[in-house]
Subunit: 413 residues, 2 copies
């Protein structure tokens, strides 16, 4: 007998689950479109060379690889066996898409992608091996108008989905570099220090201190004290600027300052704050980075940043690029836990006898066809347990139900 | 340098292409919903055992197989290396879905699936390695109300998409069995005869005759004469019934008769006809089979049939099941060749100087935010080639464009 469950870590979606997901996606797309973004699509499958080009960080370890067809298996290595893989995010494929289609796209291209990605992660609550990401990206805009628009559009989307107190935390990879330079870490210790700092919300200040001490003995206390001085200041950004002094390039300071000023004067339903502890995992970020929380939920529901060097790896010419990705699965889970229900379309059900003759069937079907001009109509044979069938239909959203008997439609109350 | 083209046989969709595809899909879903079908989703990836269970015919040879993770490659066979694969159709996954979720589904379940499938076919014009199928299925309905509803809903969908003269050709696998029995073919010759007959539109009557002669010497002439007598009769169904005599079970005759009578009295925009030459490739059909053509286009744009034995292969208990699949890619290609354009949403674009200061940026963004209540609004920096930028924006659907200068919004005509 064949197994009836989905593949490990993957899910079936029943009609009501699907309807809610589709409605959330429609709200996201509509809001993004209202900011001038347009939706595109790339294939689920990409050449393995693109997916393993050292841009995805740890996610590259989680790629589902597709067996090359007609390959001899003897003496083969995994690399020689696979020429394709399932995408693990939407950003790397977008860079390829842009490189491939730039001639047909506007100079500043504002894209929406809402699609599945696949990661062979260990399945756990709320984490799946196939999941939807909703990304917006602006390609070709060097100025912080890109960050401002991405932040505004994402905050508006979350507000439209019913989230309140949306907080965007922002920093810059170049500011993090200034921070570790200021504390005297060596270049080769940088990545490890970032990884330790990134765990702050999980392992706390003492946890981070221990990890940093293990990386660079004697430097942890100064580093942690600096972080604490900045985060505990009523104005962490000014304090950070002051503490970093000449280590922080003027351009990075001004850029963050402008984004904080502009967004906080123009967005509704939330705020944008500087967060010196923000790191973000992906290796491809080159400038600003940001993450979103809402309604006091500690974990992040969206995140992104600037990646000005990615397209150049495909075309040879760098193109400024900046993106924001909504964690759709987390949002769908939160909304479903809050009891958000899909809007069911009203409908009419016509129940007929099991042995209805062909000419009566014709009459009922033609009546259904006319009624369909004003709503959904389904025709079904009566089940043995008639009252259970009626109850099920009501739950499905059929608010008008007829019992067709002896040529007459009898409405069931 | 990394390659910028999509993987072989796969496609990128630009904003206008995506918009048209999404609009077609919305029309399909809406029409199907009006008949009481509801949309569900299964994962793109299934366990390889399900995909290679000998139900998909030749399509099983075209499966993209996914490498098992952490497997030793020495002495491995392809089967031991792969535990997952990309689905090649939506019917086999639906049977698994139904087996997995039957307890939460109504007794008669009317599903919509609109999703990608993958086949490692040789790429050619209009044939891709990732493509969308749009399926409706009715599970749990034994009577021909299932066929009648599937045919009505599919014809209405094609009419709503702008197709005219929709013709559904219908037959039954059991009638084909009667046909070969009547001509005296042996049981083991049956499949080969069906395959030959299936090529009639490609190789013609003499081609089929040659192939059948090679399968069963001496029987081809009688077979072909029978086919021609039926197809050339003004009433091919009556003629077929008459020719097959006792070989055709009464139940099969009555079933087709009823479907032809009921559908032709209740559908608009087309007709349903009997076609003795209809075979259809998939191995899993057990009863009625049907295909659709429209507007005089010879090739089929939709097809389906009854597969009452598939769910039993997973659960041990057969459940009546019947489906209809629209060839979405062919339809999208036809519509695009006919010049059907996506409905672009009107929009407003505000173009600002490259060096707009933060406080003016705030003013413009707040103006955009208010204007967004009545439509899409994008804010962009002025490009060097301003008139080209304006032209591009008009093509994208921005019908109102402002040049923001010295604190004033100047409308560009």
């Amino acid at each position: 007998m064949l197994s009836k469950t989905p593949a490990k870590g993957m899910r079936d979606f029943l009609p009501k689950e699907f309807a809610l997901r589709q409605q959330i996606l429609a709200t996201i797309q509509k809001t993004y479109e209202s900011f001038g973004f347009t939706r595109i699509e790339t294939p689920a499958v990409e050449n393995i060379a693109l997916l393993t080009s050292k841009q995805g960080g740890d996610n590259e370890k989680l790629i589902f690889k597709i067996l090359k067809r007609g390959e001899k298996l003897e003496n083969a290595s995994e690399d020689s066996l696979c020429d394709l893989g399932l995408r693990y995010d939407l950003t790397v494929p977008l860079a390829r898409f842009y490189a491939n289609n730039a001639g047909q796209l506007p100079a500043v291209f504002k894209s929406i992608q809402m699609d599945n990605v696949w990661r062979a992660d260990r399945p756990q609550r709320g984490r799946y091996r196939q999941f939807v990401q909703c990304d917006i990206d602006i390609i070709g805009e060097q100025s912080n108008l890109a960050e401002v628009e991405l932040i505004s559009a994402t905050m508006q989307t979350l507000v439209n989905l019913g989230f309140k107190d949306v907080t965007v935390r922002i920093s810059d990879r170049r500011l993090l570099n200034a921070l570790v330079a200021r504390c005297g870490f060596a270049e080769e210790q940088k990545q490890a220090v970032f990884i330790a700092l990134d765990k702050l919300d999980k392992i706390g200040v003492t946890g981070v201190m221990q990890e940093v001490e293990a990386i660079a003995p004697g430097k942890a206390v100064e580093f942690i004290n600096l972080i604490v001085r900045i985060t505990s200041d009523p104005n962490p950004f000014s304090r950070c600027v002051e503490e970093l002094g000449e280590y922080l390039p003027q351009e990075v300071k001004q850029n963050l300052e402008e984004i904080l000023y502009i967004t906080n004067k123009t967005v509704e339903g939330g705020r944008v704050v500087f967060d010196v502890t923000l790191v973000r995992g992906m290796g491809y970020y080159t400038g600003t980075i940001y993450e979103v929380s809402a309604d006091g939920i500690a974990s992040s529901i969206a995140g992104g940043g600037r990646y000005d060097k990615m397209i150049g790896r495909i075309t040879g010419n760098d193109v400024p690029a900046c993106g924001f990705s909504i964690g759709f699965e987390r949002i769908a889970l939160l909304m479903s836990e809050r009891g958000v229900q899909p809007l069911l379309k009203c409908g009419t059900a016509v129940l007929v006898d099991k042995n209805l003759d062909p000419s009566q069937t014709v009459d009922v079907l033609n009546a259904c066809r006319h009624a369909r001009q004003s709503g959904n109509v389904t025709m079904l044979k009566k089940a043995k347990n008639f009252s259970f069938q009626v109850k099920q239909l009501r739950e499905q959203g059929y608010d008008v139900i007829y019992d067709y008997k002896n040529g007459a439609f009898n409405k069931i109350d």
